[in-house]
């Protein structure tokens, strides 16, 4: 092993979460290294749906609703700074979005959820939404099927090209002097307050800050730094159609059109552990709902399908934490790394650069699970 390489921050994990934080830290002027395991890892950042989605996030957790809204608000700035830094077009289109309801029951349940979110939002950042009946919705989305009863709408939502986003974050990070090390699984570490050593790829890295953003890998890494990250894999599957001329004016939770013209169909959830095999029954259900929503989809060719694993915190709410035992060590875990990239790059990274999370992040600490488990 060669001599230690010194940085001001080590970021573990080069997915959307780690890269957004790494870019934010590099933009703050910190000398950073980003360590990334490689192709054998489960990597949600390469298999997701690409929504920037605030509606329906944070039921019963107003801090999470607010954080998601901050991120949706920060997104146009993030897109602009990535364009300025590396000329990237990540395809951000944020015209608002709809969640389609296919029965009166779905519509009523959705209305309840949206009303609860609006109540919980309070007055400082009000949550504006509308339940839209089928007749009006048909004017917004002309190809809608007869089974659609209505939809919820919020103006905050949108979508991006998630692979372009990941690529742009990496280029912006390295362009700002950051060092990216692929095939560098963190195998061992020595933690001390504001003094960390991390061993990966037969090299030794040291820094006063370490950020654990290794997705599902965080569960094993966090205890080494006096932290915990109770996350589990949750499978989602996606179907992709051939490219078609632009047809949708806005994304929905389960069908969206990419900037290149393909339709992505998705939204499935399965608790199957570390399994990324595709299930025909799940694919059929995704297709069935997509065709009920937009009957023309039945005539399109399917060209691709995949499944990937979400990083699901125990209670569904993101985890951000700092180590009490080893100040300078941080974790970040969430199941909406596309949506939250704006907040990660523009709000979370400056806190980490300053060495301390803001008080508003307290409810995100994994200590919430200790309290609950003890009760």
């Amino acid at each position: 092993m060669s001599a230690p390489e010194s940085f001001q921050a080590i970021i573990v994990g080069g997915g959307l979460v780690g890269s957004a934080i790494a870019w934010g830290l590099a933009r703050e002027g910190l000398r950073c290294v980003l360590l990334d395991e490689g192709d054998i890892a489960f990597r949600a950042s390469r298999g997701n749906f690409g929504l920037v989605w605030a509606q329906s996030k944070g039921m019963g957790a107003p801090h999470y609703q607010r954080w998601t809204r901050y991120s949706a608000n920060a997104w146009p700035e993030l897109a602009r700074e990535l364009a300025d830094a590396v000329g990237a077009d990540v395809g951000l289109h944020q015209p608002g979005g709809v969640h389609l309801c296919l029965s009166d029951k779905e519509m009523a349940d959705r209305a309840d959820r949206m009303a609860q979110l609006a109540r919980e939002a309070g007055n400082s950042l009000p949550f504006h939404y509308r339940m839209i009946e089928a007749a009006e919705l048909r004017e917004m989305l002309p190809a809608l099927g007869p089974s659609v009863v209505g939809a919820s709408f919020t103006p905050y939502d949108g979508h991006v090209d998630p692979l372009r986003l990941l690529h742009a974050l990496h280029r912006a990070f390295t362009g700002a002097g950051g060092v990216y090390v692929p095939n560098a699984k963190v195998e061992r570490s020595d933690a001390a307050p504001r003094d960390f050593r991390v061993f990966a790829a037969d090299r030794m890295f040291e820094a006063p800050r370490v950020v654990l953003a290794a997705g599902l890998g965080n569960a094993a890494l966090a205890p080494e730094f006096g932290l915990s990250a109770p996350v589990r894999p949750q499978q989602g599957q996606v179907l992709v159609t051939e490219r078609v001329a632009p047809i949708f004016t806005m994304p929905t939770t389960s069908v969206r059109q990419t900037m290149q013209g393909s339709l992505l169909l998705g939204d499935s959830v399965a608790e199957v552990g570390y399994d990324i095999s595709q299930k025909p029954a799940v694919m059929a259900e995704i297709a069935r709902r997509a065709v009920l929503s937009f009957p023309f989809i039945a005539r399109l060719n399917m060209v691709r399908a995949w499944s990937a694993l979400r990083i699901m915190p125990k209670d569904g709410v993101a985890i951000y934490d700092q180590s009490e035992e080893y100040p300078g060590a941080f974790t970040a875990n969430c199941h909406s790394g596309v949506t939250l990239a704006g907040a990660h790059a523009r709000l979370l990274a400056p806190m980490i650069a300053a060495g301390q999370l803001d008080g508003m992040m307290d409810p995100f600490s994994a200590r919430r699970f200790d309290v609950r488990d003890a009760a």
Binding site: R243, V244, A245, I247, Q260, G261, F296, N301, V303
Partner: protein
């Protein structure tokens, strides 16, 4: 480059490639007909509009997408010719609401 081997079947099936009649052997693919016709392109890509011709001839590369008898985005290398088949260029992304063609 695509000269027909002497022992091959005679070209007996007439199809239309971009409106021009071409004779091809029975059992040949629509993509083969496009190559025999000497067309400059079978499609223009959906994103950049680049011209393309059939490439792998075995259903893998999707560079042979064409409008076959009015159906959009058909992999022409996977479709055997039939008398009178109309093979036209796929120009960019298809229209999502285009009615299903009778094929």
């Amino acid at each position: 480059m695509y000269a027909t081997r002497p022992e091959a079947r005679p070209a007996t099936v007439e199809v239309l490639v971009d409106g021009v009649a071409v004779l091809v052997p029975a059992g040949a693919s629509a993509a083969a007909a496009v190559l025999l016709a000497g067309s400059a392109a079978i499609r223009e890509t959906a994103v950049s509009g680049a011209p393309r011709l059939p490439y792998c001839m075995m259903g893998v590369c999707f560079d042979c997408l064409a409008e076959v008898d009015g159906a959009a985005n058909v992999q022409a290398c996977m479709v055997p010719v039939a008398p009178g088949m109309r093979i036209a260029r796929q120009l960019g992304a298809r229209d999502a609401l285009m009615p299903e063609a009778g094929r």
